[in-house]
Symmetry: C2
């Protein structure tokens, strides 16, 4: 059991994996009891709980917070809405600092309603991220841009490849203070013909702040909520894990599975046990 425990200690569970069915404090306890060394909670969970109590619980359980999910979308039709998004994200940074999160996960947003202008939306994202960097640095919370799969470009993220996310990092923070980096999620990037080069470049820039696993199911039935358990799909998890490790990443592996019909209908402890098994056999 010691080696099992030892390895799970380097693994984290994103609370979305359990479907947000229980209060955050219950979820955190389950994750710690199952032997995982980390957790990544969501803002709506924390907003529904007592921030100080959760922070205390996390410290007591000695859990690493591998990420705090996630930013309010940056692009919007009006300047007032864009400012409101930045202010919302500033408040989230405070929460991220309070729970000791290793990074605040930036899911940057898609096109504003009615817009077809990707270049403008991308500019708005760059402006929004730039506005957070000083405060993030002051609070000691890193910002991890998570490029989302291109199928989310309209609705959720106009940043869709690791290479593109790195361009944003380099443009916004060229001096290398390294507040800004990327979260690499295999669900979003497994297909990328530039994957190897991009992960290597992210590592050389010391900008890999998080590493998320799940799996891509053939004949995916739902574009958002049909992610697979590691090993049930087509992603070569071992190859990507090697790329990330060879790029110098030494952080935890975080499981993030949105699975409405399969894993969100499975008892939480059973889902956690399966995550543990698969993390040790295929990741």
């Amino acid at each position: 059991m010691e080696s099992l425990r030892g390895r799970l200690n380097r693994c984290s569970i994103n609370t979305a994996t359990l479907g947000h069915r229980e209060p955050l404090a219950v979820t955190i306890d389950r994750i710690a009891r199952a032997g995982f060394g980390g957790v990544a909670p969501w803002r709506h969970e924390l907003d529904a709980a007592n921030l100080q109590d959760i922070a205390k619980q996390i410290r007591a359980l000695e859990l690493t917070v591998t990420g705090y999910c996630r930013s309010t979308y940056f692009p919007a039709e009006t300047a007032a809405e864009r400012l409101a998004a930045i202010e919302s994200n500033m408040r989230a940074l405070q929460q991220a600092a309070e729970i000791g999160a290793q990074c605040f996960v930036l899911v940057v947003g898609g096109l504003p309603a009615g817009s077809r202008d990707l270049p403008v939306a991308r500019e708005q994202v760059a402006e929004g991220i730039a506005a957070l960097c000083d405060e993030a640095g002051r609070l000691g919370v890193r910002l991890a841009i998570e490029p989302l799969h291109p199928m989310y470009a309209a609705d959720r993220s106009v940043i869709n490849t690791i290479q593109q996310a790195l361009m944003f990092c380099q443009t916004i923070e060229p001096d290398g203070t390294r507040v800004l980096g990327v979260a690499i999620d295999i669900y979003h990037c497994w297909w990328d013909p530039q994957l190897s080069e991009s992960i290597q470049a992210a590592g050389e820039a010391r900008r890999i702040f998080a590493y998320h696993v799940s799996d891509w199911l053939p004949n995916t039935r739902d574009m958002l909520l049909d992610r697979g358990m590691m090993g049930d799909g087509v992603v070569d998890l071992e190859r990507i894990r090697n790329l990330v490790e060879n790029a110098g990443y030494r952080g935890l592996v975080e499981v993030e599975i949105f699975s409405k019909e399969r894993w969100w209908t499975t008892a939480p402890d059973e889902a956690l046990q399966m995550c543990a098994n698969r993390l040790q056999s295929v990741c």
Copy 2:
């Protein structure tokens, strides 16, 4: 009416847009009657018809065949299966030549069942395409690699960006005989942060063999069969059309819409009329 007719004459209809509900000869007549200058038929339609009759009909109507859809997938578990795919594609090239198609559309295939090895699948694709080039050149049929959206990487195509498709072209056919090129379909590539550079590179290499339009609907309900009519989604069609034209493309614009619930349940002539309207207002 003359200017309308004149512009539609530079437009083509992929028969999939009408949902394959009628025999190919009927569909071709409808498309010509509606004033379009081109058509792109599918192999299963042609296999169900008399090849010589269809070829004669297309010539009589003076339609440009903007593409012949599509290749048998190249990657497969066994060498025998891969050889069978190449042979199937050789037969399709004969048909493409018979109907005077400007190109044979290569939708290259995803991962073989049970495989997680993208690099090997991509090698098998390269081998398969290479095996077709001589025959394609002899027949005067160009081969257009159509990069598909990354959400099809597992099931339909391990080539997912224009840049990647160009790499295949350059590797397989470095001497520039230009049998090999790309089909640019905005549904698959609209999100690409490298879109402008990739289209320009494709143009400079004189490898843009086809240009397909439709639209990406926000909140897409089906990953395969929920494409939008041009103007109903978020794609900046004018920007992409300008990129393609500035890259030197002078061919027809082809409409290819898979839309099970909306356009495949609309009367064919009505769908064609809407295509005509939108081609002239938003494309």
